[in-house]
Symmetry: C2
Subunit: 204 residues, 2 copies
Amino acid sequence: MVKKGMLIVLSGPSGVGKGTVRKALFEEPDADFSYSISMTTRQPRPGERDGIDYYFVSKEEFEENIRNGEMLEYAKYVDNYYGTPLKYVNQTLESGQDVFLEIEVNGAMQVRAVAPDAVFVFLTPPDLIELKHRLIGRGTDDMSVIDKRIKQAATEIRMMRNYDYAVVNDQVDNAVEAIKTIIKSERLRVTRVMPEYESMLGDD
Amino acid sequence: MVKKGMLIVLSGPSGVGKGTVRKALFEEPDADFSYSISMTTRQPRPGERDGIDYYFVSKEEFEENIRNGEMLEYAKYVDNYYGTPLKYVNQTLESGQDVFLEIEVNGAMQVRAVAPDAVFVFLTPPDLIELKHRLIGRGTDDMSVIDKRIKQAATEIRMMRNYDYAVVNDQVDNAVEAIKTIIKSERLRVTRVMPEYESMLGDD
């Protein structure tokens, strides 16, 4: 029996820097997990290559994938589809390799519904922490600015509740280190190593 | 509001090397958690100091602690009591500091019953892994030896099921590194950081 790989999902609010952190993570020499390339119907930007940055497909092709249940998650932004093809993820996990997804929050919740044993990491804007210090500080900020930021923070915190881990993106290096630590630690989870131990005893 | 500390419990089968790993862990320069000193009724061995290696108390004193509900966990081995006083653990956690316990498997299950949000790490003998390779190997081992080891392994694996993480004690350094990784990762758990985020929004 091959030990199944682990699915790691990185998500977070729009603009938090998910893509930057993911790219830096995959530049690490010890990044021993596979990146699942997203599929999209948008046009390639200069320098983007099919099968490396994205799988670029037509709208018809994408919708056929949806109809056939071949997308792990997907969403439509500004008339274009973005999503994760199921086949690559499943094949890689079955081969024992861990798979890393960097997706939007709606997509992450779709993955959570079908893969509850995946590891969900929420990337947090650093000003969520700064906000706290400001709020407990001398009250020198304009109240309307604080109010607006509090509302936004509340939304982000509500999202965070659906994740396993929260990583603050104060510096890309710190965030990368934290995600690597989480992955290493999750590989030691009894629920993940147990099948391997049990398999050597037969049905116990 | 002070963020509450995290309780970390290291346990494992008798003879696996829990004490050695714990001592090495606390020699690390970045060991930023407190060790909870056990209480015992056994006589100090040469070089052991009260309040450093153990709290050495009389049988009567220990039994009064039990009656008053002042022990987090305890057990009796060969006519002597061993256990964890509740007061130090609670005070340290309340102050926001993480607490590390290194205790026997029965004690760990007592802690689990009252502190389900603690982190439970099971230290595994390396031969549990070796056993697997031997079993799937050429079958050159004496079958009665293998049988005996399989029975023991089954017992250890059944214990492991009650823990969050399994760390193989193949080398002390590796085990220490793994435990540090688990602690760092657990500090990023949404369930642990959430109260801090929520407190800045009031009742949300």
